[in-house]
Amino acid sequence: MTLSTMLVQLSTGMVKSMGIFFWTLVLSLPLGLFVSFGRMSKNPAIKNIVKIYISVMRGTPLMLQLMIVYYSPFLLFGMNIKSFRFPAIIIGFTINYAAYFAEIFRSGIEAMPVGQYEAAKLLGYSKSQTFVKIILPQVIKHILPSVTNEVITLVKDTSLAFSLAYMEMFTIAKQIVAKQSTFTPFIVAAVFYYVFNFVVAAVMEHLEKKMSYYR
């Protein structure tokens, strides 16, 4: 296999990896926020259910979660899962990352001084206005470094989709390695992941800078 063919193959895998990355991010960040509300709920039932959810998601390997998500519709309900592979991967990644993001959101929201809520209340802001206009923007700035950490981890975690034989970059690299009996595809894949993460880190740094106009 020529290097250019290898690059083309790995690039198609890279696009798949990026697909997992973007969908997971776009879905898990809002879900994480929602989950963090449940985690901070005054209703003990909701709070405890969410706590268990977060505990399981963080306490078990993502690879196993992916397999459970993918196979359980069949195992539990005998459903045909032929076209469920990609949705299962996105669902698995999303519910896992939402748990981490929920805890990050919670730490950010709980770190907000109570005075911000009081000032907003005195000025007549509704609860949702207070959260969206006053609290959330500050929380986002506050948690951005932790989110960056998770996002960078997510780039690398996309390779776990190999466990469901999804043709992302790592799966393809493994297949080329098997046939070509060389480690080159792994090195190329490592460079691809690094470049991807370099871009991600640059974007996050740019965001941090944009929000550094206040303390």
Partner: protein, 254 residues
């Protein structure tokens, strides 16, 4: 006309009763100072008046509308919805530590609530905000962020923010205690100016001389009760033993 009436207010934190059956009222144009040692409940009564704390008994009336009252079964009922919003628009509060919104510019801190809560005309709000900033001597800081301002400047912005809502009564919760003496003077000057315009104000403060100078009436609180309530002159020549003792300490310090 009475702007605020608080009758038989009780407030406990757990087993600790911090407000014990306090009644007070504020008339239009009046300036009331509340003084007293730390833990006397003077900040708490302000927080009760501004609905930041819920009372355990008594009633709060703004402009004749009941914001809270004790029902026959003993529980306290608060006004809700539109009525609560109307009542809450009567008052503003200046916090001890400003509580400006750090991600908003000075201008946006002042104009955002009038625009998006009161839904007032943009041009009108902007011109009022600029007017207020001019009065506070901060017109050149309109586009600054709070972190770029001194404590005294931040507190002036927070006063402007409260005033831009056009409240009938403005509460000050120890507005100078987070500031050094020089910056304190800035704030006291602003409050003095407001007094000259007959702004109705309730000021919780440790600045005894200032309270004496600016107030129409002073309340001395201790351990959750009103010890004495009178004019500044009478307060500072009081023959109440506790009042004299308290004011004496300040006198010694001064």
């Amino acid at each position: 006309m009475k702007i605020l009436e608080m009758n038989h207010i009780r407030k406990s934190f757990g087993d600790l009763e911090v407000i014990k059956d306090i009644s007070l009222s504020v008339s239009e144009g009046e300036i009331l100072s509340i003084i007293g040692p730390s833990g006397s409940g003077k900040s708490t009564i302000l927080r009760c008046a501004t609905m930041l704390e819920t009372i355990n008994g008594g009633e709060i009336i703004y402009m004749g509308d009941k914001a809270a009252y004790t029902a026959e079964n003993g529980s306290v009922v608060y006004a809700k919805g539109e009525k609560a919003r109307k009542i809450n628009s009567n008052f503003g509060l200046v916090f001890q530590n400003f509580n400006l919104f750090p991600h908003y510019s000075v201008m946006k801190n002042i104009t955002d609530a009038p625009l998006h809560v009161q839904k007032r005309d943009k041009a009108e709000v902007n011109s009022q905000a600029r007017e207020l900033l001019k009065k506070m001597g901060l017109l050149d800081k309109a586009d600054y962020y709070p972190c770029q301002l001194s404590g005294g400047q931040q507190q002036r912005v927070s006063i402007a923010r409260a005033l831009c809502m056009n409240p009938r009564i403005l509460f000050f919760d120890e507005p100078t205690s987070a500031l050094d003496p020089e910056l304190t003077l800035e704030i006291l000057k602003v409050i003095r100016d407001l007094a000259r315009e007959h702004m109705t104000m309730v000021i919780v403060t440790h600045e005894m001389n200032f309270a004496k100078e600016v107030s129409n009436r002073i309340i001395f609180m201790e351990k959750g009760v009103i010890v004495e309530e009178t004019t500044p002159d009478k307060m500072f020549s009081s023959d109440n033993e506790r009042t004299r003792e308290f004011l004496g300490k300040y006198h010694d310090l001064g």
